[in-house]
Amino acid sequence: MATTLNTVQNPAFPVEQKQHWARGFLNSYLVRKVLKTLFTVFVVTSFTFFLVHLLPGNPIEQMVNQLINVQGVAPKDARDQVAALFAIDVNQPIYLQYFEYLGKTFRGDFGNSLLSQGTSVASIILKFLPWTIFSVGIGLLLSFTIGMGLGMLMAYRRDSWIDHILTVFASIFSSIPDYLIGLMLIVWLGIQWKIVPIGAMRGSLSPGTIPGFTWHFFSDAFFHAALPISTYFITTIGRWMLSMKSSTISTLGEDYVTVAKARGLKDWRITTAYVGRNASLPLFTQLAISIGFVVGGSFLIETIFVYQGIGASLGGAIARRDYTVMQGIFLVITLSVVFANFFADLLYSWIDPRIRLGN
């Protein structure tokens, strides 16, 4: 994108100095973001390795000791068994183990589950991750779009009763912890008022439902995801409303909006293309941070609703001390946040070309 724009030269303003191509390449927005993302992936992957391998009382040491002391396995055999489970050779020096781990992780090999023998961690992740992406994605998409709309409404009708009511609701809902909202949904909707069949909604699909492009499958998936989605929606919408309101108010005072009005453009066009587009810019950087927060929080939400996503399986792995599964899922959760950040950056640069062209 940036290169095509660099080659467009206006004869009236000749480019004074031509940059070296490598410098231009490194300075381009996309390349910088890709490098940053790769760096973060590397650090996070290494961090996960050292978390499990180097901390005192780390799981590998614990497993080896347990095999030796409790089951009376010979030290060498114990090490070999643990090595097979963690897909790593514990007899090698730590730096070689580390490189091997990096290589395997890169190929998507996270080892096998310690407890359900023969099940690879990758297959567990593939089974549960789509449900989390589905529920968190739908919840955030709904709250982001509806929240932006309501925020603009509040800015256009500021100091009216609707603005005051919405502001109070937004402030309250954005400061209540999401898992408490989840618990309150269960307590009030499920137990006290009996509007929602809590028991039937557990899990991510009803037994016997076959995934496919059928109405039955989609309605069942939404039925089971309804409570997690509502929780993500309720707890994040307030922030979008408040940010969009303040950002719209400051955009409305800009000269280009006044000019657009003076040119007699239709109200709808001014609202969407002039005010909306510019006012939404700061929200996209917040979206990146918010994705990380919600994905991290899904760990609690999914456990509360017994929704079988990646968060609930992390909870299960921690409760059972299934360290390889724990390590793999933690890495995947963190990486999904890293990639979500990357896509939010791309989206931001697509909406605001100044980001991609400027330095």
Binding site: K36, F39, F47, I172, S175, P177, Y179, V187, G296, V337
Partner: protein, 291 residues
């Protein structure tokens, strides 16, 4: 005498400033009330060792203000005694994260260059690590049985977004005329940061502290809720966790037992967040003239 009068005078001014923003003042009163109840309340309503098994899951009455739990213990007494440790840990966490955020944020913003690049790179990485899952993983091989340790850990993970705000603020302050003047006078980096810039950033620091506090409450209760932090004494998180794991949540009469700690936490979070509006008034004199 003069000093005493001055101190009383400035406290009076601060209190008057707090009342400027009505919503913020209500938040401030809420925080004071919760702190008083949690730290002095236990002397008036000491912990009950055992309850009256004849009064299980009672609704509120003159004797039991918030009803009773499954063992006939009074809910109000549990609420009063269940806040102190949670609040202490959150205060430690807020202190640690604010210290990190302010020190490194101001340094990065003020010095710029490679220092800034390094701090930003580290912050970006930390920002992507989800705190709650990390703490949960840590809890599986470190026993998080002390509130101080929990507070420090929460603080060590809670600084990245605060640091970003402090750094951005330092960047904008750096360009102001009075900082330029201080530099021209060669007052030294330490003097400029601590005497010239920090007073202008007090609002940000205080709000960072408040946000660090609410963030720590969030993380802490979440971990306790999942039973990842083994505690022998009862607190708001343990109450919810207990109600959830023992199925009291799914019992219609237990509503007072379940809702009491939830409401206590929600009120604390709401009070702290709304209080920041009034704190802005106290620490940022520029806001006052507007009324």
């Amino acid at each position: 005498m003069n000093i005493v009068r001055n101190i009383l005078g400035s406290i009076g001014t601060s209190l008057r400033l707090l009342t400027y923003n009505k919503v913020g003042f209500i938040g401030f009163l809420g925080v004071v009330l919760i702190l008083l109840l949690s730290f002095l309340g236990p002397y008036i309503w000491p912990v009950q060792v055992s309850g009256n098994t004849g009064e299980i899951f009672e609704p509120p009455s003159a004797q039991h203000w918030l009803g009773t739990d499954d063992g006939g213990k009074d809910n109000w007494i549990q609420i009063v005694n269940g806040g102190k440790n949670v609040i202490n840990a959150a205060l430690i966490a807020a202190l640690v994260s604010t210290l990190i955020a302010v020190t490194f944020g101001a340094m990065a913003g003020f010095l710029g260059g490679w220092v800034d690049s390094i701090v930003v790179a580290i912050t970006d990485v930390f920002l992507t690590i989800p705190t709650i899952p990390l703490l949960a993983v840590l809890a599986s091989f470190i026993t998080l049985n002390s509130f101080t340790l929990l507070g420090i850990l929460l603080g060590l993970l809670g600084w990245p977004s605060l640091l970003r705000a402090v750094r951005a603020q330092t960047f904008s302050l750096k360009e102001r005329d009075f900082i330029e003047a201080a530099r021209a006078l060669d007052l030294g980096t330490g003097h400029i940061i601590f005497n010239e810039m920090l007073p202008n950033m007090m609002t940000y620091i205080v709000i960072s502290f408040a946000l660090g506090f609410t963030g720590a409450i969030y993380g802490q209760i979440g971990l306790i809720l999942l039973g990842l932090v083994p505690f022998d004494s009862s607190n708001w998180g343990v109450m919810i966790s207990w109600g959830w794991t023992h199925g009291a949540l799914f019992f219609k009469d237990s509503i007072w037992y379940i809702m009491s700690p939830i409401v206590a936490i929600v009120l604390l979070q709401l009070s702290v967040i709304t209080m920041t509006r009034s704190l802005e008034m106290v620490f940022n004199p520029r806001l006052r003239s507007g009324g």
